[in-house]
Amino acid sequence: MNIAGTSALVSGASRGLGEALSLELARQGAKVVLVARSRERLDPIVRRIREAGGEAHALEADLGDKTQIYPLAGAAAALVGSIDLLIHNASELGPTPLRLLLDTECEDLERVLAVNLLGPFRLSKAIAGSMAVRKTGTIVHVSSDASVSAYERWGAYSVSKAALDHLARLWAAELGGHGVRSFSVDPGEMDTRMHAAAMPDADPSTLARPADVAEKIVRLIRSDDVANGARIEVSKSGDSR
């Protein structure tokens, strides 16, 4: 898909990969709606994009709260028009330090699923119908290797991402014939606040920079070669195209 002129919505855009994806999309000419729970952190990023000549708007929303989904979808479309590119990047890790499943509160699992799975489902439901009628649109689900590997203590996050991967496949199965692409990306280990919270002892110098990963993901979005419903490990996606 062409990025220039595209209307994009990026959740979890106030830091890490979401911020980097927003900057990269705006740099390539997309009109970007940045979404996060706190507007305060979004405003400087929006300013930065605008100062560089791009178009960006900040919307505050908690994707774990179902009453905020339609207001978000409506406000986003009011600002940039029908959404062509939807990136589900917002994630909730659950309480840290991470806990064994037997020590995980059911309410913590519910909250993780609300943000990482139900939120993306609800937001896609509010936006993908228009894509299916317009016969164009791309939905990207930001996943994790925890969705395929069962790491101890990553339980809540891990099941939410496994389900998110499958949600991506199901959207592709149902909407692929109607012009809508859906896939998930595993960004690999990055130097982000979330990574530091989950693995405080990791050496940041061994981790990928979000900006580099974002560039690769945007390359995947532009490419027509990504199979609908695919789960792509970004570190292995290489520098083709």
Binding site: T67, G74, A75, A77, A78, G81, I127, G129, S130, A132
Partner: protein, 349 residues
Amino acid sequence: MKAATLPRSEPNRERLLVVDPERDTFADFSIADLPQFLGPGDAVVLNDAATLPASLRADEELELRLMSELEDGTWLALTLGRGDSRVPTEARGSPRPLSRGEQLDFGSGLRACVISVEPESSSRFVRIVFEQTGSALWQALYRAARPIQYSYLARPLALWDVQNAFASRPWAFEPPSAAKPLTFETLFGLEARGAILAHLTHAAGISSTGDSALDRRLPLGERYEISVATATLVNETLARGASVLAVGTSVTRALEAAARGGRVQPGSERTSLLLGPSSKLQICSGLLTGLHEPGTSHYSLLEAFASRGLLDRSFAHAEAQGYLQHEFGDSCLILAGALRDQLRAKQAA
């Protein structure tokens, strides 16, 4: 006819009254049967406007209903007085007159200033400008406002109750409700039959002010946008002699307002076009719509598609059969030749 008092949880079961002006007859179906009435190459045109929360409360004595967003970023609004959503609009108290320069606070950080008041509307039509712009405005509007409510409903409407499954930009002030019963099962079913889905955006305006003199001035100029792709698709459909089915009166009014010499002109315009028995339709061959009472402007628009006699007979039948009317009620398809095959099958039997 009784009103539907709740949004349906299983829209595929909604009833569909099929009216065939060519055969001068009607028959009962369910909305899930819709695809069988369209064929390869027919166009089904949808209004993809999302419904914005258009009802704003300044205080207990004053509600503003947004009616139109103007090109200069100001908004036209209607004032309503004391009474909540359970009180029919016509029974609401007289709103206090607003004056130019007055500041209004709707809560959640949404504030506006009155720019002008129209005396001819008993001062009920006002033009306002919001303090915020851009994302701050939309964020505050969605927090402070609610969708317009209907007194005959069993419970207040949430924002998701008033959206169609394919809605996008929030241009509509009241729901373009004809498409409410359309699930993607049905929409994809139409495509599987070879019909083509097309879309336009029409800012469906408010249907009633509670004052019959003001109602006669509706609709105010409502903006619509028809893309080049949609205009081309509709024009090619007409050139092939296939049907153009308008889903809802807002689509009908946009397509007919944009008609020039039997072809649709793409573009972004405003229309206050009203259609009735003497209208000659240039574009639309058929209409999918909700059911509303005779005597309304909606019913009058139906007369552009079918004779009064056929409509009266069909609707009397629908009422006797317990069809439900209004925003969340049953549906009616008016399409010439729709029942051709059914009648043939019946005769053969």
